[in-house]
Amino acid sequence: MKKNKLLVLSTLALGTMVMAGCQNQGETSPYKYTYNTYLASNPKTWNVHNWETSDDSYVIGFTEMGLYDLGFNASKTGFAFINEMASGEPIDVSQELTPEEKELYYNRATVNLPNGVAYDIPLNPDAKWEDGTPINADTYVESMKRLLDPKLINHRADSFYKGSVSLANAEGYFKQGNDSIEPAYSFVTKNADMIPEDENFQSDGRWYINLGGYTPYAEAVFTGLDASSANFYTVLNRRSRRISDDVENAVARINDAVGKTLIRIQRDENKNSDWADVEKVDDIKEDKDGTNMWDYAIPDDEFYDHPLTVVGGEKADMEEIEDYDWDDLQEDILTVVQGIGSPSSFARKAEAWKLPLFGKYYNDTVVDWEKVGIKKVDDYKIRLILKQTNRVSTTDLKFSLTGNWIVKTDLYDKLRGKVSGSDLEATKYGTGGAENYMSYGPYKLSVFQSNKYIEIVKNENWYGWTDGKHEGQFQTERLVTWIYDNHKTAMLQFENGKIDDIELDADDMKKYGNSSRVQHTPTSYTQKLSFNVSWDALKQRQEQAPADHQGNKTIFTNKNFRKAISLSIDRKNFASQCTAGSSGFTGLLNDLYITDVESGEYYRNTPQGNSVYPSVYAHLGGETIDEENGAALPESAIGYNQALAVEYLKKALQEEKASEKAGHYEEGQKIAINLKVYNMESTTTIASYNFLKSAFDTIGAKAGVEFDFWMEQDEDYYNNAKKGAYDTIFSTWGGAQMNPWGLMEVYCDSEFDSNCEYGMTEQVKTLTVTFDSDGDGNEETKTISGWYSWLNESVEEDRANFDSDEEYQEAYTKMHNQRLNVLSNLEIAYLNTFSTLPVISRASSSITSYKVEFGSEKYIPLIGYGGVRYMTYEYTDSEWQAAIDSGEINADLYRQ
């Protein structure tokens, strides 16, 4: 009987599954155009005040709208600003602030303000929440009050007290009643004892050291530092000259002591004897409590017994250090401060060791909300009053306001409460489910099933459906987002027509790389082959090379050799065979960089940007070397000319054979190139290595020399490269698309420590470039370093300084062109050293279903392919299902 029951139960379970499998799939949906996609990870919150990751911000990308947004320009070749939650342009009211307002926000009724510190933003009166409640000036002011609420500690609060839109007194409001770790430099006085002026400083009586933390002290030592590099680490490690052995050793000990203490739980003890390995800020970030701070209280049993080497490795100073404690550290900091890092007024003070340190500051100053720089002007106008030092142009302001901060305050407060067992208050707004959130964009969140499914549908209360300004936009009626943490599963769903896009990895590219449905999303990063060009370092490496990789390395210092290597790389094929969507590239700044935000001018589209390739490859198009009159290498070749590569290699070999320097290349020697890589097992790395090896072997065979190109795994290869312990590496560099000027720092600033072409740091101080920068017919000469400084110091003209638009425009254009001339000539000059060989411009790739078409076939910086705003549908949902069922759409179709 029991057996029978078991049998019946099993049969029932199986039967249910099978019968269920036969259920009719037919169902009706009120939506015609549904876009199905996926996320790999569940958003933990989509509260605009508290999101942290891109997955967190996914939902608000559809359900919220900035005051301004970016759309296609009329010709669909670039971007243009669109007024969305704002009804018009920001109006600069800096000169219209009343004495009362100045007193309130700046504590001085008579303060003279520059333009660009106060703006009125007219609001869109038709904007509503998804439930129909109007959105007005109160919404903005009250939402900001919650964003900056000191009790909530919102992750996004800093967006409005640091950065381009720093509201007056917002920082003080946010930090009041709380401790924060602040640099001592801001608090110590210049009088005899350098006692911190503010009694709230050092509220816990302790000093902290933080090599990576911002301190104005670093700015006092080195001018021209940006916020990310103005720290004690920079002061310690970016010195361009030796001061004294005492200072050098003090620097080494501080680096070592802080590094050792912070990272000892993760590092191999043996590595700690190599102090140069522990000086990285990145490592220090791995502190066990995540605060990147070091308490002064070194345990008594903490000591070092290893020898230290003087920076530069010129001599071994075998000083034994034992029981290195707080007093020693304090003394070393004093040595450094007095030796290299102090403005003169501080240098002689015995207490000068305080300058680079930090202390806990208790912010007990009460800042009333009224003093924070946001106010309601009328029901549909707000005024943003920025910090006095935070001038911002209209364009930059609009960029910053493409995001928004408003929340439905009644719901926000209802979901708010104190967290038990902590000092924190928190809100569940935008967390857990659609009922905890209110949308106001073109779409609203309708379902949020944690870790499973997100449904976003058309928000009928959005002003854009009826304002006549969004015709033909937002055709999508519903977005369905699944959570698939397994890429293979997501890929199967795509192949079965259940999701409409998927990001491709290198393996997928083999299958779908040639599909017409693949889209490449470029990044601003250029991947380069960077060479060690220091004869001394290479000679040493040559002598110490392993027995099975003996060969010449000093030949890398020969520019013709590096030119040969560069010309031997078929970048187009490299990109297609070794990467997922990247493209062959020969410059330092790729197509994404914008040199004029207002007009949407891309650097690569300017005459100056266009002049770079022809200037570098002007005479490299023939089959023989003719550096004066040789044919130009066409841009379609992307720097590839194998025949000429062989000729340059032969020339380099001849020159090196004739050299009289010890360690030069000799007849019959192999050329041994060691490529250091992060991960030797990576498919991309293996493919890249094999590709380059084949290219080098080919030109070597033709030039009569054997290459020994071998790969070695080194997870710390970037830092080893900076120390000269390498032959060649793949280095990747890029940055903010709107700041190509600053990006040149890595190549042109001799004090910048991320240059991966060892030996070039010194050269940039002496390598001169001559050209007519200002178009006056006269050429000017400066070092690369000098031109870079000029670029940073030159500022484009301000409209406020001119009487008429014409005068301003003329002056602006002149200065802008001059800056472009300098930028392009810097790029040309550096590329012409062939010390770094750009290979690809990095990109990611995704594939999109036949169901939809994007607004642009071409990637447009800052707006990509147009996103959901411009997406159109080739199939309705039912047509798509029918096409899948009939086999009209299948996975094979995407391989074409």
């Binding site: 099993s10 990310s228 502190d287 605060t291 967290v419 924190l424 569940k428 967390t431 099933q449």
Partner: protein, 327 residues
């Protein structure tokens, strides 16, 4: 017996706290880093946030605070909250929302695979050393030797890529919400159940075969036959019952494991159950979730072990627990 159970429960509680303490200290000792750059305001906010949550206190203080909150919290956050997986959700809510797919997949797997496994084992024992037995034995060894996620990928390929199987768990969940017994929901479990069943079927069949083979060759079986019982009667009434002594606790163990998930199988079939939650809580340093989920399974394991031990005595009255030597 009663004293034995009390003693085991006492040991269980002690073990639980030792494991809890180790887990508590180890997970909080893991390095944590802010998304913000060193020295940035984002990092400073991160520091303040952690400080407000008490995570910057010495570990021993945090340990004490945990128990204070456990017994004093009035907002339902006695076991804390998730801060990195789903903001402000209690660990229990988080775990319970992911339980249903995990539990159902495991129950269906048991219902499906235990009878088949035992049946196959009986068949193999009765046909011992025949071709059928040898073929099945090889297959069983093959299946046991290969990890279940390999089948998962194979099944995914055959059913989803080649066969276009129309159901996925995550889709069914989305469609039917809390209705876990909707037909389409059940159908969507077919593939993960299949993937998990291979190993269970092979395990039970191998074990049953071994036990039954041994019993079938016992003297009492000869006696049963000489008493005049048919082979079937002797096998079912005597041999199978005796062979169940070690198999029954195995079935019980299988029931206990119902609550635990399979990280890879859930991931492959997008079941998004409790399996991945534990891993996610470690990766994201979601301390309260990690401790809650981790300790839940520790408790299940400890209770399960106790029940399995006690079950021996129930299945076979000859086995006595906690007995002492007399005289």
């Amino acid at each position: 017996m009663f004293k034995y159970i009390l003693k085991r429960i006492g040991l269980m509680i002690m073990t639980f706290f030792i494991i809890f303490t180790i887990c508590f200290f180890l997970v909080r000792a893991l390095p944590v880093s802010s998304i913000g750059a060193p020295g940035s305001d984002a990092e400073e906010i991160f520091r303040r946030y952690r400080e407000a949550l008490g995570y910057n206190e010495p570990l021993i203080v945090q340990y004490g605070n945990f128990f204070v909150r456990l017994f004093t919290a009035t907002d339902g956050g006695n076991f804390g909250y998730s801060w990195n997986i789903e903001l402000l959700t209690t660990p229990w809510d988080l775990m319970s929302s992911r339980f249903p797919p995990t539990v159902l997949i495991n129950i269906y797997t048991m219902i499906f695979s235990v009878p088949i496994g035992i049946g196959l084992g009986i068949f193999m024992a009765l046909r011992k050393n025949h071709v059928e037995d040898q073929v099945l034995s090889v297959l069983v060894m093959l299946v046991i030797s290969v990890p279940s996620f390999v089948y998962a990928f194979l099944i995914q390929y055959l059913f989803c890529s080649v066969g276009n199987f129309p159901y996925s768990t995550v889709e069914a969940v989305a469609k039917y919400g809390g209705n876990w017994f909707a037909p389409e929901m059940t159908a969507s479990f077919f593939l993960p159940v299949l993937a998990m069943s291979f190993g269970t079927i092979a395990g039970f069949s191998r074990y049953t075969r071994a036990e039954l083979t041994e019993v079938l060759t016992s003297d009492f079986m000869l006696l049963a036959r000489t008493k005049g019982l048919t082979r079937t009667q002797a096998t079912i009434r005597h041999a199978f019952r005796n062979s169940l002594v070690p198999i029954f606790p195995m079935i019980l163990g299988e029931f206990i494991s119902i609550l635990s998930g399979s990280i890879i199988i859930e991931s492959v079939f997008a079941a998004n159950g409790v399996g991945g939650l534990f891993l996610e809580s470690i990766n994201k340093r979601d301390y309260d979730v990690f401790l809650f989920v981790g300790m839940f399974y520790v408790l299940i394991g400890l209770v399960g072990g106790l029940i399995v031990d006690l079950s021996y005595g129930v299945v076979d009255p000859r086995i006595r627990m906690g007995g002492k030597k007399n005289g």
